[in-house]
């Protein structure tokens, strides 16, 4: 686990991020720049980010940089492509008369350290059809796989986790 520094700068930073995020969501929802809407939005975001900045800080999001943003976009596109590809695979298995499935629960290992990175990895694995995460124990992820190719830990890590992990390692660490 990475030790979070609870100094003033960190808190101020997370407060600022949260405020920007909230105000963005507010304007996306109201989508009007009426003076009343703007004032209400700023007030509500200010109060919410005052109360929630501590929790947000504990989540451990990394500081923003251009490189991280770029890799996040790349990662998003890779994830989307994997989702679509794998969805066709699962759809094929579902409508095939003989149902060619070989379900099982396998273990993969991850080198990611922070909790938020593990969460992102687990959610990405769950979003790609055919695999979903059951549980996380330290550095091991338990995964239900609809078509088990091999039960070897190293091989499974390569097939399921590697393609996401190399991006997440740059984004979160």
């Amino acid at each position: 686990m990475i030790k979070q520094k609870h100094n003033m700068g960190n808190k101020l930073r997370s407060f600022f991020y949260l405020f920007i995020l909230l105000i963005f969501v507010w304007f996306a929802f109201t989508s009007s720049f009426d003076i009343q809407e703007v004032i209400t939005g700023i007030l509500v975001s200010l109060v919410l980010s005052l109360f929630l900045s501590k929790t947000f800080n504990e989540l451990g999001f990394p500081p923003f940089s251009i490189k991280r943003g770029f890799f996040f976009l790349t990662y998003f596109i890779v994830l989307l492509w994997e989702i679509i590809k794998a969805n066709f695979d699962v759809a094929y298995r579902i409508i095939h008369p003989k149902m060619p499935i070989k379900p099982g629960i396998v273990i993969i290992k991850t080198k990611l350290k922070s909790n938020i990175a593990k969460l992102a990895l687990a959610n990405s694995i769950t979003l790609t059809p055919g695999t979903f995460t059951l549980d996380i124990r330290d550095d091991q992820l338990l995964i239900h796989w609809i078509n088990v190719k091999t039960t070897d830990i190293e091989e499974d890590t390569k097939i399921i986790g590697e393609k996401f992990e190399k991006y997440l390692r740059i984004i979160f660490e």
């Binding site: 579902i94 379900p103 099982g104 549980d135 609809i146």
Partner: protein
């Protein structure tokens, strides 16, 4: 023109939702059903919402559809994960033709 493209995308989304429902009926156990139900349906809903955005364009309605998409992409895996873990903890067995169950081995160790 936008209307036609949008309706085609919505049609694809509905098709994926249909696959998800068929999978829900055909799959043998809880975990495989979750695979079909949560994944195909997630992509299906995303396609439907993208179709809505294409039809109405970037006005308040379209932006709300995009936000809904983000929420679904974040919450649906979490829900599936919680359901599956709960099912395994309360002792729901895997399909008898399953290849391996390393979770059980780990628990009993």
């Amino acid at each position: 023109m936008n209307n036609i493209i949008g309706y085609i995308i919505i049609g694809i989304g509905v098709l994926f939702n249909l696959f998800g429902c068929i999978g829900l009926l055909r799959m043998p156990d809880v975990y495989c059903r979750l695979q079909a139900a949560t994944k195909c349906v997630t992509l299906g809903i995303c396609f439907v919402l993208i179709g809505v955005v294409v039809i109405v364009g970037f006005n308040p309605l379209g932006v709300k559809a995009l936000i809904c998409m983000v929420f679904i992409l974040v919450t649906s895996p979490t829900g599936a994960h919680a359901l599956a873990r709960g099912a395994h903890k309360s002792g729901v067995k895997l399909w008898k033709k399953s290849v391996c169950d390393k979770y059980k081995d780990k628990e009993s160790k």
